[in-house]
Assembly symmetry: C2
DNA sequence: TATTGTTATACTCTATAACTATA
DNA sequence: TATAGTTATAGAGTATAACAATA
């Protein structure tokens, strides 16, 4: 591996095309177990379940969020959000509050400790891995532009 | 949701740099829930647990693999491989066989049905999403090269 | 003694269905 | 009647510790 060869065929006759290789490598890079490990450590330290640490990402900067909306962000069921927010509340990271006008809705409000924690979670998930330093500024821009292009085809996510 | 905003800065004054944006978008694209969905469907159809479908990827082309090695590939504990191979065996997708020389080791051998299934799993996980058609051949090559560069910093993974 | 795999167990992830309160 | 959240429950993911067989 790592040998730049004439692209398009290999000795087994199996053609691994450029897009496939790019895709496989993208998956490998982004599924970095280290990120999960860091998040796990954060969760352990804070006394929350790992799923709650992931959720913190969406609770970080915005105003209080309805539980239902968190479920949409996490693409999980409402009932799991109950579990997550239970964990956050038990650890003193967040609390439920009633919505001002619609009393069916509960919003999730971070405590001060929660805001700090959320910032760290955001940083863990949002910080590019060290390998990005291998790219020149120009290459980084090219990469970003390619990602924008790939992302622009995002599924319509009806509703 | 779904509102496209000016990218690069948000109302809080936080500037999101190029690498961070590239990274976040990469993660979003590669964590496509549709891939998981397809794999889930395959698992349902074959009567195996979803984790076993992921494992098929590593069992596809190679010769019989020791359970321990599958654990390393999946980065999970041996005990979970027991669960996975139980599932594969119950569904008639694979069977355990004794290693020729070291009788502590059991190797996983795919059945004919298993080989077919493994090919499909490989295809699901290895096929780039439709959005890749948005890239020109030249752009695809650039992307692949960038991924090679990023991947070259991969952790040494001793042993 | 060290290694491979299994068993028992426990915690977490996540969803479905039934339910309560509110709209 | 429809919607937000909760409860009960269950299957799946996953790890740790103790164990058996083999090296």
């Amino acid at each position: 591996m790592g040998v730049a060869r004439t692209i398009g065929a290999d000795e087994a006759g199996v053609v691994k095309d450029t897009a496939t290789e790019a895709w496989e490598r993208m998956r490998e890079i982004t599924h970095d177990p280290q990120v999960l490990g860091q998040l796990q450590a954060l969760a352990d330290e804070a006394g929350i379940i790992p799923g709650a640490a992931k959720a913190l990402r969406f609770l970080s900067t915005t105003e209080p969020m309805a539980m239902r909306r968190l479920a949409a962000n996490l693409r999980c069921d409402n009932s799991y959000v109950t579990t997550i927010v239970d964990s956050l509340e038990e650890a003193g990271v967040a609390r439920r509050e009633a919505h001002a006008t619609d009393r069916r809705i509960k919003v999730i409000v971070l405590t001060d400790a929660g805001r700090t924690l959320a910032g760290r979670a955001q940083e863990i998930l949002g910080t590019p891995p060290p390998a990005f330093e291998l790219l020149s500024p120009a290459e980084t821009e090219i990469l970003r532009d390619l990602m924008r292009k790939l992302g622009s085809a995002a599924k319509p996510t009806s509703t």
